[in-house]
Subunit: 331 residues, 2 copies
DNA sequence: TTGAAAGCGATACCAC
DNA sequence: GTGGTATCGCTTTCAA
């Protein structure tokens, strides 16, 4: 391993000088700088971030904590975060929490132990004390809490939009699927939908579910049509569940959207590839990731921030599982 | 920040002793150890990984380099890697390369600068010199190269299985979709399929594509049926493309699998949720991730390794886009 | 069994 | 402008 010492020797200067040109601060003679640059490229030197981090007590690392990268909604977020972070020279330490306090705890600890400069977390436990030990900036993503800056989409409005879409399109016996109780965004969209449904002239019922996995989704779908065989409109807790329901409805010989309309939530990439293409509430996941990273970086740089809570808009994407939707596909 | 010094003071011993109990090596009196443990928990101390890493010249970090976490095949891999790594106390530094040499280069550099103990990479450029500067273990995942240990699925066999499935099920005008030329696994499965198709009594044609994104997939699907309107069997380059083709075929009023059969590749989670559920070649992505991590960790620990190339089996998953497939769904 | 001290690779203060 | 050196928090000889 080539160190700053080697470079100093090669260039015939002191390490202090090398450090100065590296960090571009302090006075360095033009010719000296030149010599150092040459030595650096000759030796193919690149500074040891660990040593740097130890002295400065901060790294160029950002901790990213997600519930489960395997859930198709999160890779988008992660990618947004990474792209923005990379632009600013930051790298990512990644963790999956499975929404488990213990894992969150452990990852926060690792982040701290590795001197990360900031953390972005999609957590429901922001106020459980897990994040208290952090003396560095924390940005909540896809989740909120009064206590920390956050970037999220307007879940309540999303729920309303979904419900409205179905009501306006004539669904009369709506089934509203309620996501896992401990997942906040799921509850918000649920509340939003409930609000609209409660005020509308429709029958509706609620089906509670407690997970988001692909396999479980199939189960909910079967249960739904067993318990509510005459439902003609379904508000799914997310696109995975929406697609599973679509699938099950088709399997049962129902016509979509004539017999039953379905609206999902998230607009994951594969929703437009579903058959029929799934009408859904779009959350701008990639942008959310980018915004979260942007906000975090501002915080890290102690730049002034105008808004500590960034709410991104959601939109109803009218595909082919709702009536009167456009039958052209957009991406 | 509480350091080893604080603990030493609190326990009334030297930092050397604290270090010994921390690392559980060297002689430490039982009572002394006790005092230290108490001090540690009283002060809620946890060692600074950065300092540790600096001295030992190795961290507890593993670098993971993926083409694009947004491609549904990779999150599975990533999760497998993470789960296995976490079991052994390692954390992940994550990077997306977009199959670009420059990004790969940059991430490798970051990994090195941060003293990672090993790297897992899904790259096509293992032999381009990018990985030469690594003096630490490298495991290739989902890709191979003679030069480095690797964990991958049998792509050639996968291609054969896909082609055989279609031939055996009576497809007569097969379209074989060729993935991006620079993506090795895509080429292998292509070759495998070609091998079988060439030997069989069928007409077939090849459609070349150069990307894997959702949006592009729709384009290929349209092109396919425009150029080969009478195709009755499609071997897709992956499940994304397969699902897009399914979708397009349905849109054109074709019956699946009566008019056209489709077989995908990967068996991403959403394939079983497609409509109809997509027949495909399953790659054990999660296991591949775990195996890659296992192998890497053995390498890191300098444990004896029996096999430096781990080939995982692929399997044809007979769902409903091929004739005579089971019409029950498995997950 | 324990402690003192050197050193890991960089930064930044203080002299000169 | 440039160099010497203390320092970051920890591990590991080497002595005692």
């Amino acid at each position: 391993m080539v160190t700053i010492k080697d470079v100093a020797k090669e260039a015939g200067v002191s390490v202090a000088t090398v450090s100065r040109v590296l960090n571009d601060n302090g006075y360095v003679g033009a010719d000296t700088r030149e010599k150092v640059m040459e030595a650096i490229s000759k030796l193919n030197y690149s500074p040891n971030e660990v040593a740097r981090s130890l002295y400065k007590r901060e790294s160029r690392l950002i901790g990213l904590l997600l519930p489960d990268i395997t859930n198709p909604f999160f890779p988008q977020l992660a990618r947004g975060v990474e792209d923005e972070a990379a632009r600013e020279g930051f790298r990512l330490l990644l963790g999956n929490s499975d929404e488990k306090a213990k894992k969150e705890q452990e990852y926060i600890q690792t982040f701290l132990q590795n001197n990360v400069v900031g953390v972005i977390s999609a957590t429901n436990r922001a106020d459980d004390g897990i994040y208290e030990p952090l003396s560095i900036p924390l940005v909540l993503m896809d989740r909120t809490s009064g206590a920390y800056p956050s970037v999220y989409a307007d879940g309540r409005e999303g729920g309303r939009l979904a419900a409205k879409a179905l009501v306006e399109r004539g669904a009369k016996k709506i089934t509203l699927i309620k996501g896992p109780a401990h997942v906040k965004p799921a509850m918000e969209r649920f509340q939003g939908a409930l609000e609209v449904l409660g005020a509308a002239e429709v029958d509706f019922s609620v089906l509670s579910t407690d997970s988001y996995t692909f396999d479980a989704a199939k189960g909910w779908a079967e249960e739904l049509f067993r318990v509510h065989p005459d439902t003609d409109g379904v508000i799914a807790s997310n696109d995975i569940v929406g697609i599973a329901i679509l699938h099950e409805a088709l399997r049962l010989g129902k016509r979509i959207p004539a017999d039953v309309q379905v609206v999902g939530y998230d607009d994951i990439p594969q929703s437009s590839l579903a058959y029929p293409p799934l009408s859904t509430i779009r959350q701008p996941a990639y942008d959310m990731g980018r915004e979260a990273a942007k906000l975090l970086i501002r915080l890290i740089k102690k730049q002034s921030i105008t808004e500590t809570a960034v709410e991104l808009p959601v939109a109803f994407i009218d595909r082919q599982t709702t009536r009167g939707g456009t039958h052209d596909e957009e991406s």
